[in-house]
Amino acid sequence: MTSTTQLKNVSNGVLTRRQFVVSSAMASGGLALGFHFPAAAQSNELSTLGGSEINAWVVVRPDDSCVIRIARAEMGQGTHTGLAQLVAEELECDWSKVSLQTFTPGQNLARKRVWRNMSTGGSRGIRESQEYVRQGGAAARIMLLQAASAEWKVPVGELKVEKGIVSHAASGKTTSYGKLAAQAALLPAPDPKSFSLKNPKDWKLLGKSPNRLDTAPKVNGTIKYGIDTALPGMQYAAIKACPVFGGKLVSFDATKISKRRGIKAVVRVDDESVAVVADSFWRAKSALEVLPIKWDFGANAKESSASIAKRLKEGLTSTENVFADIDIGNVGEAIQGATKKIEAVYGTPFVSHACMEPMNCTARVTADRAEVWVSTQNAEAALAAVAAVTGLHIEKCEAYNPPLGGGFGRRGGTQDYVRQAALIAKQFLGTPIKLIWTREEDMSHDFFRPIGQCRLVAGLNNQGDLVGLHLRVSGQSINAFVAPHNIVDGKDRRQLQGYWKDAGEAQLGYTVPNLRVEYAMRNTHVPVGPWRGVNTNQNAIYLECFMDEVARAAGKDPLAFRRSLITNHPKHLGVLDAAADKSGWNSPLPAGRFRGIAQFMGYGSYTAAVAEVSIKGNDIRVHRLVLATNCGHAVNPVQIASQIEGSVAYGMDSLQAESSIKDGRIVEKNFDTYPIARMYQMPKIESVIAPTYDFWGGVGEPTICVVAPAILNAIAAARGGKPVRMLPLKNEGLRLV
């Protein structure tokens, strides 16, 4: 895989166009320094690491080094570096002397949640917290300057600061943040309303790509993920939950394994799971495999992929339990009166998160304290779960959150593995218990990306213009499973993410005179949850692949057809054009190569992609992907490009993989049957970062959703217009090579 990244400004009338290649920005990289991670806090006091805490976000040490506190979880997305850049920009410190410090949710709670939300998901890390973390940096700078002003008895307005060195031109005095810190820490914090943040035009560090602050420990292997937790006297637990969702644990025969070496106990964890505790994970896992267990599978054992598909199909045309989120004009009449009618049904399966680090959690519970060490996207949720399970007051509980070996939504929505570890550890007071799920357990008991189908009907007039579009999603609701309070009046708008009328988050880019967008909630017994990109993934496949079918029926070029419908939404158009330009859409391709295009919006950002594929028999080779992203402000372009590249891998997973259901349980339990994108399948990736500098959009998720439809549209072009409508690709006998 090779990749290039281009940072460009899309001309949408907001700012003037400018372009530069990111490699030049890379040259400005700073030193990669360490992390300060609380492996086990003895109290709720957060260490100042030998420095002075100017405010909650900033500690300055006598040697001028600055410690920046970070609330969000790092799972490879680079948010720690990006958030530190936001603080450092306003602080005006020396980036080469910056290090990071994370803290625990207990410490956040003890300080009345001064660091606010620790939840990491929804591509929110930067866009949700950018204002208050920049204010934290600015407030610290103001206090440091006030300290210099008091010492020198000169007005603050006469002081200048650059890279942590404060100077006063008239007197020629200079000093550094390290020398001012102790006095600055004593000053009252300025009211955020009393100062303003820098104009983006004046940014020095934001928009540049200093090296990530967490690269060294990853490369040299010193990084500790949750699964690397090791505590004195620790025992290991392997767990098995009823393979049929909703089934119950009836009984188990512990005598059959109790004489095996190293076995400590077999425990009932909750109504549906049993665990073996041993002195090594291997012994626990091996014993669990032969433990006789009696399950009550319940009525769900009758469910299968076929029975679920039948339910979804019913929802495509039913008048029951369906609502329209958009109803413009008269779709029925428009399509009835159209010259040409196009109709298609698309389908996307359940898919697993398949995190490289399987679910795990280490817990230690005593009579008056409970602690967990767990890689989680939401340490505060883990803390709350431990308190709930143990019944201890939340101040007597703590959660330590090492970096994650993959999250993708799995480690954020539900803290099921934390609850299990605490339930087991409760039965071994004082002994740390490390619960590890096997890969099979991980893939059998995921909170899957929900299954869905979509029926689309379009009408064209005799000029080939789209006069009516009727779109109906029928599928499982995430909110119904994890957050029912987000369903208002029975309407779960989240499932229509990317088709929304309202601007700002996940707006539909097309303007169609007669348009009806509906959702029919059809739930199943399978647990579902957010999967990186969530509903934008499926919704982009449905709409963007169908747009190609409609363009083909109209005899129009897919780009030109989209452009004609998207003119009311200049930012959607901007990224579409950016991807098309970079791909050379109008230039001829080598023989046997075909292009596909797609655009969509999610998480406040605009994305588009152009794929180039060739097909030989049933083998599809994706040669090239050009992806354009407008995330408003681009904090760290190289990290954004990395996220885009990761999005391609994740998007390609979802073309190939499926978690199917037989006898109420998951069939694909490991990578032998659950294919993920391999190195050899990866195309050349060209990222075009096209910020318009007038909003803050997300980065971690938005680009995934255009990967699959762009590739699928190229595949359809290569097959003479025959689309793939029911994923995964193997349903059509196709595979990625």
């Binding site: 996207q377 505060e380 954020g412 309070h485 957010p530």
Partner: protein, 148 residues
């Protein structure tokens, strides 16, 4: 048993209060919340103690405890205790009636919370005065889900 419940009546029923509650998608102010249920816009802080964890990993069943200081005599006792939510579609989560026969007012229960919010515990004493305690609860957000 230290938990005495004279009556736990169906949500939204009882004295005809809030029988047709609005569907609140967002937080409502204290004034908006209290008026339909206690007839006034505010209540006195004190006597009521609401214990609920600052964080909940989900809102499905959040444990809480409420106690009210009162001699529980014929002259001076707690008449009513209400649990209100400023974000749930139905703000009245639970209501309890007491009388001088109750030896103490101590409630331990679980409630469902539709997202992060302020929980209100209100007690009316026999002199007609409403007493109040509130608690902020953060129902931790699910990854990748926004507020829609």
């Amino acid at each position: 048993m230290n938990l005495r419940r004279r009556l736990l009546w169906a949500l939204g029923l009882g004295w005809g209060w809030g029988a047709t509650p609005a569907l609140f998608a967002q937080h409502v102010s204290q004034e908006e919340l209290l008026r339909p249920y206690v007839g006034i816009n505010s209540a006195q802080k004190g006597r009521v103690k609401l214990e609920i964890a600052r964080l909940a990993d989900n809102g499905f069943n959040v444990p809480l405890k409420v106690s009210v200081q009162s001699p529980m005599t014929a002259q001076d006792h707690v008449r009513r205790l209400l649990l209100l939510s400023n974000r749930n579609p139905r703000p009245l989560m639970a209501g309890f009636e007491f009388g001088p026969g109750s030896d103490q007012v101590l409630i331990s229960t679980r409630v469902r919370l539709g997202g992060s919010q302020t929980v209100y515990a209100l007690a009316q004493t026999s002199d007609g005065i409403w007493w109040l305690d509130t608690a902020e609860v953060e129902v931790t957000e699910s990854a990748c889900l926004d507020q829609t």
